[in-house]
């Protein structure tokens, strides 16, 4: 033991000496993520049936701010009405899914958790499938009032309802223990899975096609309206979740240690659940179920920057935005003029990555 360190020396005399403690694993990763995101944005806006160069993109954006410059009017129309809203939507959804995933993994102290665990996705899809299949009066009047956004509103309501249900049941069942919430989430997920199954069983061929398309996820319906619809929800999540970073770090020590270090367990649980439901619920409502982003991105980020949630949360948001924007560019260009459901792409790419992580972790624990 180092006997030179003494606790009796007054701390003020040492304040000048700078500690050499090292806590940042990879200081360049965050700036690199920001740069990658910018490059991804420019590339994704550019690619498609009609290629738009970065220079033209710049001109079109400058023009939309009211300056008079010469631009190709077809390209301008495509960019402003189709590609830009779509890329914006991909960024918002990707960032929202990944940051919620990171926060939920932190809350459940389980690196294999994802936003679907507390019933958000399954609740949203159950509500949406019910809407598609059961042409009941309520849904028809809603469609009358809300038009094409009725499905999104219903799906979001379903997400909120299940998340709330899981939270309430878990509180009744066992004080405030997080494991109870995890198990409740699994049970509720199974239940809504079964109910969704009944709906699909009852559905006609036409409805079945709708259901399939919806449950595989797609950003095809992107418009400025849908971007504006999810912007406030995702923005709140993106601003508020990183503020929980310290509490999530302490939760890694266990619930009791976290509370010994001043974390209000009840409040942190409620906040993570509310913010994740806002981000994930709206994204499922607009784009259907997009799997694996919320699970895999936080893992990849952790490998790069370590486990400190102050970097994992923001890093995941950036990473999620990059991956989903790229995936969407692939989805709409690979089989053009048709489109692949983006959920298929993220799962196709996500699964091997996920398995690789699993084996890597195993190797490390054995070694």
């Amino acid at each position: 033991m180092d006997t030179t360190a003494t606790i009796r020396s007054s701390p003020t005399t040492h304040q000048a000496s700078k500690s050499v403690i090292k806590t940042v694993i990879n200081p360049w990763l965050m700036p690199a993520l920001v740069v990658t995101l910018l490059v991804t944005l420019i590339v994704s806006v550019g690619v498609g049936a009609l290629y738009v160069t970065p220079y033209e993109i710049g001109l079109i954006i400058v023009k939309s701010f009211g300056y008079s410059v010469e631009v190709d009017s077809t390209k301008e129309a495509i960019l402003l009405a189709i590609r830009l809203p779509r890329v914006c939507l991909a960024v918002l959804i990707g960032a929202g899914l990944a940051i919620s995933g990171a926060a939920i993994q932190g809350l459940f102290r389980n690196p294999l958790a994802d936003p679907g665990l507390i019933g958000i996705s399954s609740g949203a899809s159950l509500a949406a499938v019910m809407m598609i299949v059961l042409e009941v009066k309520l849904f028809q009047t809603m469609t009358g009032v809300l038009g094409m956004y009725a499905l999104s509103v219903v799906a979001f309501a379903g997400a909120c309802a299940t998340a709330f249900l899981v939270y309430r049941i878990a509180r009744v069942a066992g004080k405030d223990v997080i494991t109870t919430m995890l198990l409740t989430g699994i049970a509720i997920n199974a239940l809504s899975g079964a109910l969704t199954g009944i709906m699909t069983y009852l559905a006609t061929d036409e409805q079945l096609r709708n259901i399939t398309f919806w449950s595989l996820g797609s950003l095809g319906g992107a418009s400025w309206t849908s971007v504006l619809a999810i912007l406030p929800f995702t923005a709140v999540a993106l601003v508020c979740i990183p503020r929980l970073a310290k509490s999530l770090n302490l939760l890694a020590l266990g619930e009791s240690q976290a509370s010994m270090l001043g974390v209000n367990l009840k409040s942190i649980k409620r906040q993570v659940i509310i913010f994740s439901t806002m981000a994930v619920g709206t994204s499922v409502a607009v784009a259907g179920i997009i799997g694996f982003v919320g699970l895999v991105i936080p893992h990849l980020i952790r490998m790069g920057v370590g486990s400190d949630h102050r970097r994992v949360l923001t890093g995941s948001a950036l990473g999620g935005a990059i991956v989903l924007t790229l995936a969407d560019s692939l989805a709409r260009t690979l089989v053009a003029p048709a489109e692949l459901p983006i959920g298929i792409l993220t799962a196709l790419i996500g699964t091997p990555v996920f398995l690789w992580i699993l084996f890597r972790e195993r190797r490390r624990t054995i070694a």
Binding site: D2, I7, H14, K18, S19, K22, A252, G306, D308
Partner: protein, 264 residues
Amino acid sequence: MLEVRDISYQIRNRKLLDGVTFRANPGELLAIVGSNGAGKSTLLKLCTRELKASGGEIRLLDKGIDTYSEKELSVFRAVLPQQNSVVFPFLVSELVLMGRYPHSDFHPSEHDYFVAEMALKKVGMWEFASRVFTTLSGGEQQRVQLARVLAQIWDVPRGILFLDEPTTGLDLLHQHQMLELAREFTQKGFCAIVILHDLNLAAQYADQIVMLRSGKVEAIGAPQDVITVDIIKRVFNLNVWLVEHPEMDCPMVIPQQNQFSDRY
């Protein structure tokens, strides 16, 4: 500093603790000993407010323990738990800095880094600062956790330290260093409450020993008064010899030979 008055705790009809009363003063190291299932950990959890007592009162710094908020407690009370499981691969330095979170805003100050460094040096784990915590051995992890707990209350005037079986998984040298450290902190006005299994460690380091037996205080007082042949026979059902420590004024416990063979 810590006052436990007639505390009891029961789950359904089973009384786990019954009428436990003791008082730990600043500058004192109080050891809680007793057989398995005697209620040591339950008592500690009541003192750290992890559980709520069914009856009685616990006071910290002359105020009822329930009048504090989590935040207020976290700046002068630290707890080293028996089981430490950390899920994500944090660096040792990050983990120790977590002990400073109650004192800092979003980012730790220069002083927090300094305290973390001192705490790591104190437990002899400074060379491990940039290692990943989950790759360390059990004993090393325990010492890092101790550094985190010490960092939490490093520079408060009257801190209170709870250690739940801190010597588990430590080798002989580090067992003694662990308690030596706890003693060093009590000398600057802290109060340390330590659950111990090893009566010899308790006798050597504690100012006061609370001996529990099935939820009740069997004996309380200075080591010489509590560590006696009769009390050990009653609490642990074990026949022992007591010898004098060669240089300290405290008893040492040596179990007698062949005392189990005729019982079964």
